[in-house]
Every structure is written in structure tokens, then in C-alpha cells.
């Protein structure tokens, strides 16, 4: 009898330890974005989670200035898979007024597909798209690596991140406490800030070149976060 109880406890414990306890909330967050410190439009971030299949999207809708920054209209959709408490990029779709392509991911391999051509990208470890990367920083921050392989504008890049924890930032006249992640790519300094009080939601993002701000994104409204 005691043996049976012990075996049951072991089986239960094993089953529990394999459960996916990384929680990805449903999100709809609205942001303002600024080009060289002048308001240039809005960005909407949406995240949906259905049976550990995650769909995350960002849609930029901007004015004439945003057009100059290449974000007049831009839609990015990332499809991710949550397995063994880890996010894996599966598919990414990019659309704007000039370009349109899709990327299919298979761990350290990515296939970039355009209308009439395709090519492969390979890395030594997992490859992510920019939206999947943002979700990794939001929801897997406790296990964040120093560097990640990211496909940006169809090119494979290695982003070396610097993280800072436990500090506050004033964004759109509201104080947020959380952590930041930053990296330098093509002489551009990319900075992200996430709020711990809002399930690690992205609150602020800036891109600077030669210490001058090119682009800034600020949270203005959370429509859904649960």
C-alpha cells in the first residue's frame, strides 16, 4: 500500500514538473511613436495565446514623418510555440508599403521567403524574429541569455544585450518600475524598458544614433492584459 502511494506521488510530481508554467498573457497595448522627438503616429501591440500557440503582432500607423522613418505603415506578425517553458519562433510575416516577406523558423535555421525568391539563414543556436525576441525579453527575462540570433530586415544579426534591473522610469508622465535590455546594432543604440507591475509589458523603446534619438515608442494605454 505504502509503495503504491509513493509511486503515485512520484508520478504526480513528475507530471507537475513537466507542466508549462510560463504564462503568456493576452495583450492589447497602444503606444505613441516619435520620430526625432516629434509625434509621428501610433503602434498597437497584440498578443494572443491559444493552447501555447502564441500570435503576437505590431501595427504601426503613422503620418508623413513616420513614412520618412520607414514606419508609415508596418505590420509584423510573429507565430511562436511555447514548449517546455521556452518560446520558439515558428513563423514571421512582415508587410509595409515597400516590402512583404515571410520567415519560417526551425530552431537554428530560418528560411526567408519573398514573392519570387527565397534563401536560408543558419546559426549555431536558436533564431528569433524581432517580435519573438521582444516576447522572449518580456516573458523569459529570468533566463535571459547575453546574446541572441535575430533576423532583422532579412539579415541574421547577433544582438549582445546589456540588462539593468530594478529601476524606475517616467514614461508619458507615469512612473514605471522594471528592467531594461539594450544592444548596439549598425551604430544604433536600441533600448527597451519593461514594467514589472504590468506583467513585464514593453513600456518604452528608443533607437539612438550618435547619442541623437531617431525613434521613440511610449506606452499610452493598456486595453487588455490578462
Amino acid at each position: 500500500m505504502i509503495n503504491r502511494i509513493i509511486i503515485s506521488i512520484i508520478i504526480f510530481a513528475q507530471a507537475f514538473s513537466h507542466a508549462d508554467n510560463l504564462y503568456i498573457p493576452e495583450i492589447e497595448a497602444h503606444y505613441n511613436f516619435y520620430y526625432k522627438n516629434v509625434k509621428a503616429g501610433t503602434m498597437i501591440l497584440k498578443v494572443k495565446n491559444k493552447n501555447n500557440k502564441i500570435i503576437a503582432s505590431t501595427i504601426y500607423n503613422g503620418n508623413v514623418l513616420a513614412n520618412l522613418a520607414g514606419r508609415g505603415y508596418r505590420e509584423e506578425i510573429s507565430y511562436l510555440n511555447l514548449k517546455d517553458n521556452k518560446l520558439y519562433a515558428e513563423k514571421y510575416i512582415f508587410k509595409d508599403t515597400k516590402d512583404n516577406y515571410e520567415i519560417i523558423f526551425n530552431r537554428n535555421h530560418a528560411k526567408v521567403i519573398k514573392k519570387d525568391s527565397s534563401f536560408d539563414l543558419k546559426a549555431s543556436s536558436e533564431i528569433y524574429d524581432p517580435i519573438a525576441m521582444m516576447l522572449v525579453l518580456m516573458f523569459q527575462f529570468s533566463e535571459a541569455q547575453q546574446s541572441y540570433n535575430v533576423v532583422s530586415k532579412k539579415n541574421l544579426k547577433i544582438y549582445d544585450y546589456i540588462y539593468k534591473k530594478n529601476f524606475s522610469m517616467l514614461v508619458n508622465n507615469k512612473k514605471y518600475t522594471g528592467y531594461s535590455a539594450e544592444y548596439i546594432n549598425d551604430y544604433k543604440h536600441n533600448f527597451f524598458f519593461f514594467s514589472e507591475d504590468h506583467k513585464n509589458l514593453l513600456v518604452y523603446n528608443s533607437i539612438k544614433k550618435n547619442e541623437k534619438e531617431n525613434l521613440r515608442i511610449e506606452l499610452i494605454d493598456i486595453k487588455k492584459l490578462n
Binding site: K36, V38, K39, A40, G41, N63, V64, L65, L68
Partner: protein, 175 residues
């Protein structure tokens, strides 16, 4: 003496070259091309709507543009936006002779060349102290905007790119 002649030649040609105004060929429509060249040397502003009132749509049946790009010159103002009552995405306003800050809607240039003599007084724009008031949806119902000058942000090439928006006045012609 021959040296003096050379110097005089150089001075003469320099004056001729300096007096030549650099003009871009945006379009074959001659008058519109002149206007666009004037606009590209104007002052560029980004304007955001004051008091976003969601009730406007239900009461007045239109949603004002949230953001408008304004190009200011002394006698003409160019406006770039998403929509107006004619389904245009941009318009040119001509200065009212009697009022310092008032501009009247100019001619349409979607299908023919711009005619400076045609002035439509049913749509009025006012621009004073970086505040823009304009009625492009309903006559005499003004939407108000605060404007920021894009002084150091835009290069000459960027300005020209913005001015190219006026090549397609109707929204349906843009794509």
C-alpha cells in the same frame, strides 16, 4: 589687361549662376510645379489635433484627422492629411488679402493644373502662433491643432519627399 578681362568674365558668370534659382521638376503641370518648388523651401510643421472628441463622429458624422503636416510660406500653405470631405489627402490654401492669418482653399489639381485665380471660400484655414484651425469636412466647423516646426529634423531631400505628396491629391490615386 587680359587678366582683368578674365576676372570680369568670372564675376559675370558667377552672378549669372547665383541668380539661377534651383528648381525641381515635380510634375509637368507648370503652375503646380511652381507651387511645389515654393513649398519645398517653406517651413515644415507637424500638427496634432487638440481635444480629440469621440462624440464628434456621432454628432457631426466625421472624424477629424489626428495629425496634419503643414508647409508654410508667406502666400501659400500646403496641408497633408489622411482625409477630407472630397476624399483628398492634401490641399493648397491661398492667403486672404484682407486677413493676415487667413488662407482660403485654392484650386483642385488632381486632374488639371493648379489655377491660382480660383479661390474656394467655403473652406478656410487660419495659422497663428503655431495653432492651426481648418475646416476641411464641414463649412465653418474648425478642427484645431497645435503645430511643432520640424526645423532641424528634415534634410532638403526629406522636404522634397514630403512635397511629393501633392502629386496625388485624391487618396484613390495614391496607390
Amino acid at each position: 589687361m587680359p587678366n582683368l578681362k578674365k576676372i570680369l568674365y568670372i564675376i559675370f558668370f558667377s552672378i549669372v549662376l547665383m541668380s539661377c534659382e534651383e528648381k525641381s521638376a515635380y510634375t509637368e503641370k507648370k503652375n503646380l510645379n511652381n507651387i511645389l518648388n515654393k513649398l519645398s523651401s517653406g517651413n515644415f510643421y507637424s500638427c496634432n489635433l487638440i481635444n480629440k472628441n469621440k462624440k464628434i463622429k456621432s454628432t457631426l458624422n466625421f472624424i477629424p484627422n489626428n495629425n496634419v503636416t503643414l508647409i508654410y510660406t508667406e502666400n501659400i500653405i500646403g496641408l497633408i492629411y489622411d482625409e477630407d470631405k472630397w476624399n483628398y489627402g492634401n490641399s493648397i490654401f491661398i492667403k486672404d488679402i484682407k486677413n493676415l492669418y487667413k488662407y482660403n482653399l485654392g484650386d483642385s489639381y488632381s486632374e488639371k493644373d493648379f489655377n491660382k485665380k480660383i479661390i474656394q471660400k467655403n473652406s478656410v484655414l487660419k495659422f497663428q502662433n503655431n495653432i492651426l484651425s481648418v475646416d476641411i469636412f464641414k463649412e465653418s466647423i474648425q478642427s484645431q491643432y497645435t503645430c511643432v516646426e520640424l526645423k532641424k529634423i528634415l534634410s532638403e531631400a526629406m522636404k522634397k519627399e514630403i512635397v511629393k505628396n501633392f502629386l496625388f491629391q485624391k487618396n484613390k490615386d495614391k496607390t
